[in-house]
Symmetry: D2
Subunit: 345 residues, 4 copies
Amino acid sequence: MTRVGVVGATGYAGAELVRILSGHPDVELTIITSRQYAEVEFGRIYPSMKGVVSLVCEKFSVENICDKADVIFMALPHKIPMELVPELIKRGKKVIDLSADFRFKDVSLYESFYQAHTAKDLLKKAVYGLCEIYFDRIRDALLIGNPGCYPTSVLLPLVPLLKSNLLDVNTIIADSKSGVSGAGRSPSLVAHFCEANESLKAYKVAAHRHNPEMEEVLSLEAGEPVKITFVPHLIPMTRGMLTTIYANLAQNIGPEDIQNCIASFYSGRPFIRICPDNTLPDTLHVRGTNYCDIGFKLDERNNRLILISAIDNLVKGAAGQAVQNMNIMLGLDETKGLVSVPFPL
Amino acid sequence: MTRVGVVGATGYAGAELVRILSGHPDVELTIITSRQYAEVEFGRIYPSMKGVVSLVCEKFSVENICDKADVIFMALPHKIPMELVPELIKRGKKVIDLSADFRFKDVSLYESFYQAHTAKDLLKKAVYGLCEIYFDRIRDALLIGNPGCYPTSVLLPLVPLLKSNLLDVNTIIADSKSGVSGAGRSPSLVAHFCEANESLKAYKVAAHRHNPEMEEVLSLEAGEPVKITFVPHLIPMTRGMLTTIYANLAQNIGPEDIQNCIASFYSGRPFIRICPDNTLPDTLHVRGTNYCDIGFKLDERNNRLILISAIDNLVKGAAGQAVQNMNIMLGLDETKGLVSVPFPL
Amino acid sequence: MTRVGVVGATGYAGAELVRILSGHPDVELTIITSRQYAEVEFGRIYPSMKGVVSLVCEKFSVENICDKADVIFMALPHKIPMELVPELIKRGKKVIDLSADFRFKDVSLYESFYQAHTAKDLLKKAVYGLCEIYFDRIRDALLIGNPGCYPTSVLLPLVPLLKSNLLDVNTIIADSKSGVSGAGRSPSLVAHFCEANESLKAYKVAAHRHNPEMEEVLSLEAGEPVKITFVPHLIPMTRGMLTTIYANLAQNIGPEDIQNCIASFYSGRPFIRICPDNTLPDTLHVRGTNYCDIGFKLDERNNRLILISAIDNLVKGAAGQAVQNMNIMLGLDETKGLVSVPFPL
Amino acid sequence: MTRVGVVGATGYAGAELVRILSGHPDVELTIITSRQYAEVEFGRIYPSMKGVVSLVCEKFSVENICDKADVIFMALPHKIPMELVPELIKRGKKVIDLSADFRFKDVSLYESFYQAHTAKDLLKKAVYGLCEIYFDRIRDALLIGNPGCYPTSVLLPLVPLLKSNLLDVNTIIADSKSGVSGAGRSPSLVAHFCEANESLKAYKVAAHRHNPEMEEVLSLEAGEPVKITFVPHLIPMTRGMLTTIYANLAQNIGPEDIQNCIASFYSGRPFIRICPDNTLPDTLHVRGTNYCDIGFKLDERNNRLILISAIDNLVKGAAGQAVQNMNIMLGLDETKGLVSVPFPL
């Protein structure tokens, strides 16, 4: 059985990895690391898992993790992974990195939004882990740059339509709404209960670092430069992300054409659900799951398409997609460990 | 002292009218009506006001309300007001109607989104009560069509820029997010706690009845036909509305031009607050107030403006603006009864 | 494979049964019924399960359900089950009823809090399905009265201590706090988002129908009459129930004695978790699980014990315990279909 | 006009003081201080008040504040006030301290729960500012120890009954539930949105520092030692505190006796509202107000009284009561600055 490890297991994405990997039928979670909680039992930090997950957090060391794991998930803030990953790769480990460090093809893009990149060679070998789009490359990858939550929610509905040249690429706007868990587990004023509850606000308007990440992929898939306006908002709920995308149509088409384009593109893909007849996505319907629900409405008066996607930001937007990437890399069914009947509410 | 009455006092907008009017220093709330709660003390229905508001709900009758009140607020579903208001106006009463019945200039527009209009003559005399835009007409009006919450949040940031021809009128998109109180007090599945909590969804995409209401005003103010794409969303919080507007610039201008245009247009208007230096509106900051906070960001890469407004949907989006209209009609300072120091959270 | 059916599948407890049974490895969910949604696909009512649960709701008929299912779950309001269950039992079906109809041994107790009982003979054969207490009887039962959510949260921490005579039975008070899903799916003012959000209140103080249900079991287990004061409260969250129990000690004992009594009583029981060293239960830690977490603190100054339990009201408090009962009745491992790694948040 | 100052104006209680005092008709808020935000405009920290409160935070200095203010509110963590207050008092200022430093009569009680007291002399002169109980002493006080939120919610319903000897003082239990704003504005894991949302838990069970504060007052008022079991809980909402109190009756009395005792004791007190006929308090009904709503139910089977109180923890539980104390000290009507029509929701 493949042995896996999680570096940075006590943040929200890391804890979600622990949840999914602990229940995965085909891998064994053998090591979890944490700077802050070294030598603390995981069930002490996340008591929901007490009696279920018996692992104790360890301090990270290359030796230790390479001894214990064949596939390594990195759930750390950007900048640290690019310092650690080269050694892991050198030792033959497969790595799935949840930070931005290995998401970009264009290193200058990365460097203008983050910092100098110290592992440029690896960047060339890394595959952007948007599973439904890059399945084939992921299968052969050793290193995955796991997509951000916002890019996942923006790219999945858009890519099929852009590849079919159905949209005017100069008119794309993405208005995203995220639950507060996207802000992570470190206490901060923005995620303080009384500041977030009964509050609704935009932030980093047209200035979020997920913006260049989206545009690089969109441009590649459209075959021409695509720039979008991206505005994230913070919503008083724990999990969930809803993205509303606006774009003018490039061709004279109707709703069936849109429906057909998306449905045929994602035919057979288990985690994409197209909303039937005029129903629309709701974050509550994907909570705790790896699904991306997609719906749309054509504003015919304005020749404008409204595309809506819903994901759980911690699952399809982070840990779930990371495990899906691992499944693909290991030649497993991509749904392994990721399917359970969703909660009704 | 002017005597005022509220018809339909037990819905959320009606109750908010009762709150504001009970504390208004220059008018006396003399009568409140309710079909469902006739003869019930108001403090029984809204126990927050027990011991403070001693009025008892009465059944509506033209005689009764005309005896007791000089200014009448109608907080009823559309269709009913147009049946009742003509008689009130005939008897010399001033009327502020919170439904859609008297908001439209173009009766055919009303009729295509609602139903046949049975008081067309009055429609011509009614003034659209967007206080900051139509102050002068409101002063002389006998009948006000009080704006919808969504139109208020969309029109206030847009009108100054449209009047100055700064925006490309073919590119306007409004993505609105509303707290659940906008769905009213009648129990329904959409506003059921467990369906709304931890849920985020769009509804009536490009098909909401507030859409033509906005467009009629925008077209009048822009001096040319304006069509916008409008998408409302439901957010798990009680009060508050945030609207994010996207529009391409029509001219080569910078952020100072935008700032100047909006700030000078609203100079001296007590309920418009322009967010200073890169701060942005948050619904928590206007909760319980009649303010409309406006912020913006220029996406220079895309030559696109992002305008953001925050209001309390029940105050500036309904009852507060209605009282502001009354103040203007009565020649009072428009802030009377509407100013108290806002809560910090 | 055992075929199972759910009668009343579209309420919250019913939907939770559909979720659990659809994922159960040893039974097949073959029929779900609903009056309100006959012939509607389940995924239309609960879109989280679209593409996962393909069943269509049927109208209830004895013939139909007896043809299709061997074990039948009744998730209906009380009074209806006692009319339907006798015929199901007569045809050799095993029945787990989630209403109060088959929970009482003393029919007069039932009749004084509900209504005349029309299936008294069956009442004698029914077993109260509190799995950890009545495991042996459940194994041989044909009909289970599945416990209420409040009684489950009160009885599990109390029974071991009462059986050991450690508590003064005249001093027991249970202060329970429930999430809003306990109010069910039918829209009502009490569960309307804006009335429940930011609200906290007690209801049916010392007058809730779960009170006699608890007392009957407590008295049986204590071997003497036990009367308790029970006060339920409504909390602004979807799932979860926390019960804080107060009781004077009957003996001169310390915290280790309490710990030992509860821990040894529940030794080996997979769904009871005793909180370690001074940690306390939190509903977030049992959300979506069948666990009952139990913690306590001794108020030595007052010789009073404070016992705290946390459950998910829809799982251990309803559907999860019902499936646990089925597992025991069928001779399966009691955890089948009920274990997945809990969410970290 | 009396000049007032707030020391520690940027915490939640301090900000609430700024809100109330800015709108107070008979005092002028002349100075606010903050270590963390010195020289920052208040509206930058709490943008709800931008354009309304124009004060800028200053660093605290005795000279400065004594120059500018006649009455000084201290909204700081305990230990600091007892170091600063003696100098303020010496200079003839009236001081209302919101910390625990001047709440206790018995210094050893303070010292066993907090730390060594460095201003014992002042302790003797300080008056416990529970306005409805100690009105007469407050009128003449120079220094007020403003009650904690939990003690306020426990003492107001209990004191009348204890003074009338209606309760068995050995049986009192208080189960309190508090909104998250009680945890203050400093980011922490316990008040982090994702940890508090959908969570419900007890904390500091029978070990909270408000426990001895309550008991000292209860004992004084009962005329005999009173020990109570006190358990606070954290609830996922911003504002509000509900306390459910249990106590055995000491006499053979009925609900009218309870009603009469409380109602006559609080006759004419503007901020106490007794819930009429079987209605019960709800935190939503006191949100943003200085009211304490009190209701009760007699559990006649168990000869036990259940008393329930609801307050806004930041108003009657902190800043509102502090201003009420100031009003009384200044000989103003005690409701000045504290009455506005409550929000319906």
